[in-house]
């Protein structure tokens, strides 16, 4: 009886502790959201929590200004123009390669796959200088296709690793049956492997999407001012952080909205991807 009471109380205090920690974890994001809804003058004078006592400070004016700013709009579209092809290409190239690694027999397969496992952790800094050089020669420097290809290349090792492990788990009988029916490798890939591997493909697509959408460094090096995505445009503003918070706040919040929507909509796949990428 007593131990039950103790357990009840301790469970209650754990709950309370988790609520406190959870709220603490939310404070920074709430702070940015509320700051983005206050005028620059108010932000310079007092903290965002003042809106709880003076709710009339809340205004959408900053967002209105942001939508009227052609550079920010252009940057937003650049982000889309970079992220969508980089995601589609990685999914396409990696699923083809993963199929070959999982189900085709060819010389050097295991060695090549180990190289890809090795590439998983290569810091992209190691490629910046040579690729900038290469892009200069190929007339890709400063252009969106260059940014996209770099993201695809550095997304591929994780993508191939994730998909190959998943594809290899598909029961062999399914493939054999298809082969008996005279299906080509392409048909097997498109009709058997891809549909069954869809959860892994979804995880991968979400990861790649978030990774590219959120990137700053690659775009900073390879994009010109005309092809720069939102992250680079916001970073430009942070040089005068104090005086630009009415631009930076809503800009940063807009850049967060798309990833957060993706996160909440596909949470399950996101968690699966994290687990597959690290534990397995």
């Amino acid at each position: 009886m007593i131990s039950r009471v103790v357990r009840f109380v301790s469970r209650g205090s754990v709950q309370a502790l988790l609520v406190v920690i959870g709220l603490t974890w939310l404070v920074p994001t709430v702070g940015l959201a509320l700051s983005s809804l206050r005028s620059g003058a108010n932000s310079a004078r007092s903290g965002w929590w003042e809106v709880f006592s003076v709710p009339s400070q809340l205004t959408l004016a900053n967002y209105g200004k942001l939508l009227d700013d052609p550079r920010m709009l252009e940057a937003f579209w650049n982000t889309v123009r970079i992220t969508v092809p980089a995601t589609v290409l990685v999914v396409a190239l990696a699923s083809l390669a993963a199929y070959a690694f999982a189900w085709l027999r060819f010389p050097g397969r295991d060695g090549l796959f180990l190289v890809i496992v090795g590439f998983l952790v290569v810091p992209l800094q190691v490629a910046l200088i040579p690729v900038a050089d290469l892009y200069g020669k190929l007339n890709l420097f400063g252009r969106i296709p260059g940014v996209v290809l770099f993201h695809v290349a550095f997304g591929l090792p994780f993508a191939i690793f994730l998909l190959r492990n998943f594809f290899a788990e598909i029961p062999r009988e399914l493939l054999e049956a298809a082969r008996m029916d005279g299906a080509s490798e392409w048909t097997i890939f498109a009709r058997v492997i891809l549909p069954l591997g869809l959860p892994a493909v979804a995880s991968l697509a979400i990861f790649q999407f978030l990774w590219v959408w959120n990137d700053l460094l690659v775009a900073l090096v390879f994009a010109s001012p005309e092809s720069a995505p939102l992250t680079v445009a916001i970073r430009e503003q942070t040089r005068q952080f104090g005086s630009n918070i009415d631009v930076i706040g809503p800009g940063a919040f807009v850049s967060m909205v798309v990833p957060l929507v993706v996160f909440f909509a596909f949470q399950r796949y996101f968690v699966q991807g994290v687990l597959a990428g690290s534990v397995k």
Binding site: L32, L93, F101, P123, V126, R164, E176, R235, A252
Partner: protein
């Protein structure tokens, strides 16, 4: 993971092998081409480039010598070391604690979502978020608002923190307190005037000051704001429009500086130090009246900037560690834990002796993943510290960009820094390859 994927599909004939080779080339071609051109070749090129200087002349290890002799790169290397030592351990520990706490508790799912959410947003946005959190002014930065609130609650700031004596010959500073330069003996009066405060900021209960009358015993006096709003006041004298300063502590010191009596002023600023032996005493206005409110921690100053930026990293990645460790926790057989409990082990012993050892492989994977990630930290260090402290917060990944693309344009030194980063992940690479081979062999 099973070895099913590595098994052969059918007995290969020579023709079939050749056909498979072509097929594999078709499936793998685009990926291998991109990996070769944009990952493999650049690694080789960067290593080679690191032996040439900015203008392309061969300097052997010259860039590496510069790297370990320049103060700027040394700071970057030292900070990266701090990051690698601190951040992964803190994040893994927090993840473990949260994973254990959320086990079989209501609200656990909501908690995990909240913790995991920062993983979805960009480092840039997180940087902007924490730049706001770490604002120095406690009126604007939430971190300092909290710290200041706690410290001021523990050590209340004095009501007269901005005040100073009108007559600096009479009252001299003694630390944050003020001591009279002339002695007073029992039966006399002291008029201690202060200035430097706005009259509208006086305590609401302050009443007009009154000049003290000489007492029979002890010392009487007044502490007041020696300033008449609108002018016309006489310095050093209590004028009708001037108000007393209540709640100020006055102490009588003997020749050795020992406190012999204390008193607190009333609403009209009057105090009375009774029961004093005959003799001469100096009067001290105690420090507590003048204590400054806490001005806030300089999170983004040179001394604290790296821990502060690491704090933002912990905020982002703790959810990742928690979710992965929680998955490992769920895989531990319940009966093992129950058996330990039945044997009389306390919850702490179960955690320490059963749970943690069984989680070891997962903890190592989380830790290694974080180490690799920490080495590449760029955006947070780029965005959170103000320009003036960027050199103090610098890390290798950021310095590599600054040197190669951010103005200096020294791609020799930049390549050397990239090679350093690459060498630092080689152990993790070996760890991954070995782990994979072991799993594939099962």
């Amino acid at each position: 993971m099973s070895g099913r994927g590595t098994a052969t599909l059918a007995a290969p004939t020579r023709r079939r092998g050749a056909r498979n080779g072509l097929l594999a080339a078709a499936f793998l071609g685009p990926a291998v081409l991109l990996l070769g051109a944009l990952v493999a070749y650049p690694i080789v090129f960067t290593v080679a480039r690191s032996f040439y200087d900015r203008s392309g002349a061969f300097v052997a290890l010259g860039n590496y010598a510069d790297m370990v002799s320049s103060a700027r790169t040394l700071t970057a290397i030292r900070n990266t070391a701090v990051w690698v030592i601190v951040a992964p351990s803190v994040v893994t520990t927090i993840g473990l604690v949260f994973a254990v706490l959320t086990e079989r508790v209501r609200l656990a799912t909501a908690f995990k979502v909240v913790m995991f959410m920062p993983m979805a947003i960009s480092f840039l946005a997180a940087g902007v978020i924490f730049r706001l959190v770490y604002e120095h002014d406690p009126e604007r930065g939430v971190a300092n608002a909290v710290v200041t609130g706690i410290i001021d609650a523990a050590r209340e700031p004095g009501p007269y923190s901005s005040a100073r004596p009108r007559n600096t010959d009479l009252l001299r500073p003694d630390g944050k307190a003020y001591v009279t330069s002339v002695p007073f003996s029992p039966g006399s009066t002291a008029e201690l005037g202060l200035v430097g405060m706005r009259p509208d900021l006086l305590p609401s209960d302050a009443r007009p000051a009154m000049a003290p009358t000489a007492p029979e015993r002890g010392i009487a006096g007044v502490v007041w704001l020696d300033f008449s709003p609108g002018g016309g006041g006489r310095p050093g004298l209590v004028d009708p429009a001037e108000r007393g300063l209540p709640e100020a502590r006055v102490e009588a010191l003997d020749g050795q500086g020992a406190v012999k009596a204390t008193a607190v002023t009333d609403e009209s600023g009057q105090f009375r130090l009774g029961e004093l032996e005959p003799g001469s005493y100096r009067l001290r206005l105690a420090e507590s009246s003048f204590r400054q409110p806490f001005g806030g921690v300089r999170w983004l100053g040179p001394a604290l900037v790296t821990p502060a930026v690491i704090g933002s990293y912990v905020w982002i990645w703790s959810g990742f560690a928690m979710v992965v460790i929680a998955a490992g926790l769920a895989a531990i057989p319940r009966d093992v834990l129950e058996a330990a409990r039945v044997d009389g082990a306390s919850e702490w012993q179960v955690f320490r002796r059963v749970t943690v050892p069984l989680l070891r492989p997962v903890l190592i994977v989380v830790f290694v993943t974080l180490v690799i990630n920490v080495l590449k930290v760029f955006d947070l260090v780029f965005v959170i510290p103000p320009g003036s402290v960027q050199d103090d917060a610098n890390v290798v990944a950021l310095e590599m960009w600054r040197v190669s693309f951010g103005g200096a344009r020294d791609q020799g030194l930049g390549s050397a820094l990239a090679v350093l980063l690459f060498l630092l992940v080689v152990p993790a690479m070996a760890f991954n390859v070995r782990r994979f081979r072991r799993e594939a062999a099962v």
